[in-house]
């Protein structure tokens, strides 16, 4: 029996009012996050994965219309007042951005900035906050933390800065850490280090992590469970091993086919033809229909609902792999 989820997202939809009319960025996405779990959200640019994460902590601009609910600790974050929301942000739910180079304020030392978060949420003295900052830098494996703590952001490399961002995110022992493409802006070798660190954070602190990425390798590396998003919808969800072993949605199959593998010489990588559709209202068809090689009349006229096709494996498709093979 599964334990009570830490974070529960129900029917989350996000619509933006743009100059070209409304744009549906997220279409009725639901998922849960268990304690100590690493949940990967994958999808290509513009599929709504970042918008989903931002709406969890209400970072979207006012032009965004968000509906649904995000239940955390028994309360709906989407209905929380500003004061209580600030107590959650950075304290119980932390967020790491894609851009470590510019996410730190250039005029304060990193210790000062980490300390700011500690002091705000835990109300400790300046001295204790400084001590905690050193501890945190040590935790994220920055060498010579006593020295680094008093350095300015421009003195640190990109990887170090991302470590500082992680340290800041962990400052108050959050229950949930949302990492929006934390490694995208970094070198491959640095990426591996950051991923190791995230894994370690989960092991040692028990923090549940939502990891957003377009890199399937990253997901395979650290995630327990994976959600595949396409054009604002959740199209597939499964345990990481299961997903990679038996992908069900043609889109997921296509994504996996597009990964180059060493030792396998091919002239051209598999690609998914066509483009991602954008919609102003929920489409009354499968969002992937235009690009799907199995598309038929049903796909073009009905919305596929999420259903279980294998154990703990949800997919929104009329023709999942499992049924085609059979």
């Amino acid at each position: 029996m599964r334990a009570e989820p830490l974070l529960e997202v129900n029917d989350l939809s996000v619509r933006f009012e743009t100059d070209e009319g409304p744009l549906l960025a997220v279409d009725q996405v639901s998922f849960t996050l268990a304690e100590r779990e690493v949940l990967g959200i994958v999808g290509e640019s513009g599929c709504g994965k970042s918008v989903t994460c931002m709406s969890l902590v209400r970072l979207l601009p006012e032009t965004a219309a968000v509906s649904g609910s995000v239940v955390f600790g028994g309360v709906d974050l989407l209905a929380l007042g500003p004061r209580r929301l600030r107590r959650v942000r950075g304290n119980e739910i932390s967020y790491i951005f894609q851009e470590p180079m510019s996410s730190l304020n250039p005029v304060f030392t990193v210790g000062n900035q980490i300390g700011e978060v500690v002091r705000r949420h835990l109300g400790v003295s300046r001295r204790d906050a400084h001590r905690r900052a050193v501890e945190l830098l040590q935790l994220v494996r920055i060498p010579a933390p006593e020295r680094r703590v008093d350095e300015y952001p421009h003195q640190l490399s990109g990887g170090m800065r991302q470590r500082v961002m992680i340290a800041m995110a962990l400052a108050c022992d959050p229950k949930v850490l949302i990492a929006d493409e934390p490694t995208t802006a970094l070198d491959v070798t640095i990426q591996a280090g950051i991923l190791d660190l995230m894994r370690e954070v989960r092991e040692r602190l028990g923090t549940a992590i939502v990891l957003v990425t377009h890199n399937l390798g990253v997901v395979a590396d650290v995630a327990d469970r994976v959600i595949v998003m396409y054009a604002g919808r959740k199209v597939e969800e499964a345990a990481a091993n299961e997903l990679f072993a038996a992908p069900q949605h043609p889109y997921t199959v296509g994504l996996l086919g597009a990964i180059p593998r060493p030792g396998e010489r091919r002239e051209r990588l598999e690609e998914i033809p066509g483009r991602v559709p954008t919609a102003s209202a929920p489409l009354a068809r499968c969002v992937f229909a235009d690009r799907c090689r199995y598309a038929d009349e049903t796909t073009r006229t009905q919305v596929p609902t999420l259903r279980t096709v294998r154990q703990d494996h949800l997919v929104a498709c009329f023709h999942p792999e499992a049924e085609r093979a059979a």
Binding site: L59, G90, L104, N105, E116, V117, E146, R147, D150
Partner: protein, 295 residues
């Protein structure tokens, strides 16, 4: 633990000192800026120590020496009323610096919060403030100041107020523009997601990042105010005799342009030097503080 902390503190101090040293080095490489700083500081020192430096009071008249040439008693001669020109120049420096510095400070203190509010909260607040600023900016700075001084009545304080108010729209625009740009920096949403409230965002994440721009705007507004004060006083809207200012000296010298040009030359040179010095210093400072300059 305490040893570690103190070491860290030492390192931090060293770091700040290193940055200052770098800035100083870059500043010293600009001879014009350095000259500007020296001259500007000279004026400020004269203004502060005017009572010690001036041989006579501003209103002292020597009826034995009317329109006299330089002498040991009156180093720069006297004007038509027997005032010692050197003394009046020195007291005039005080008036100019006072007006220059305080009107600029006034403008900054009033305008920066307004501009930041407009830039940060956007919406109709911004719309009203920005359009109002545009309207005020449509009036030339001096016309605005002259109009205000005429309404307020002539005095040193009112000249300061008029010039300060005249400089407000420019400051608002700068503060608003900087805020608009800085609120889009990645560290702002990062701070929001760490639970920062609006006050923290504004005072910790936006204001400190625009200090360079504000410093430069300040050093460039001061000379404008100095010139403005001279003009207001020349027009009789500023400092009133027997108090001295470079503008009133010019005004008094005007009837004697053919007989005693030196009476116009001394205050004229003082105005040019002061304005130029602050401008050149401000330019240099801008170059030094702008991280994009490579020299």
């Amino acid at each position: 633990m305490s040893i570690v902390a103190s070491e860290a503190e030492v390192a931090a101090v060293g770091l700040r000192r290193r940055r200052l040293r770098l800035l100083r080095k870059r500043f010293l490489r600009r001879p014009m800026a350095v000259a500007g700083l020296v001259v500007a500081l000279g004026f400020v020192v004269v203004a502060i120590f005017a009572p010690l430096l001036a041989p006579y009071s501003a209103g002292h008249t020597d009826f034995n020496a009317i329109l006299a040439h330089s002498s040991s008693k009156h180093l720069l001669g006297t004007d038509d009323l027997g005032h010692d020109v050197l003394s009046r120049l020195i007291w005039g420096t005080r008036a100019s610096m006072q007006v220059g510095v305080f009107s600029t400070l006034l403008a900054m203190v009033v305008a920066v919060p307004i501009g930041m509010l407009a830039g940060f909260y956007r919406g109709w607040v911004d719309l009203v403030i920005a359009r109002l600023t545009d309207v005020l900016l449509a009036f030339p700075f001096l016309i605005l100041a002259v109009g205000l001084a005429a309404i307020l009545g002539p005095s040193l304080l009112n000249a300061t107020l008029a010039l300060g108010i005249g400089a407000i729209p420019g400051f608002i625009r700068i503060a608003r523009g900087e805020t608009l740009a800085l609120r889009e920096e990645d560290y702002v949403p990062a701070a929001v997601l760490n639970g920062a409230n609006d006050a923290t965002i504004i005072f910790r994440h936006i204001l400190p990042n625009m200090t360079n721009t504000l410093i430069v705007q300040t050093t460039l507004t001061i000379p404008g105010a100095i010139l403005g004060e001279a003009i207001l006083s020349f027009l009789g809207l500023g400092v009133q005799p027997p108090q001295s200012s470079w503008g009133t000296m010019l005004q008094g010298a005007e009837p004697y342009l053919t007989q005693a040009q030196r009476l116009s030359v001394y205050p004229g040179v003082a105005i040019i030097l002061a304005v130029l010095a602050f401008n050149v210093f401000g330019d240099g400072l801008r170059d030094v503080l702008d991280p994009r300059t490579t020299r």
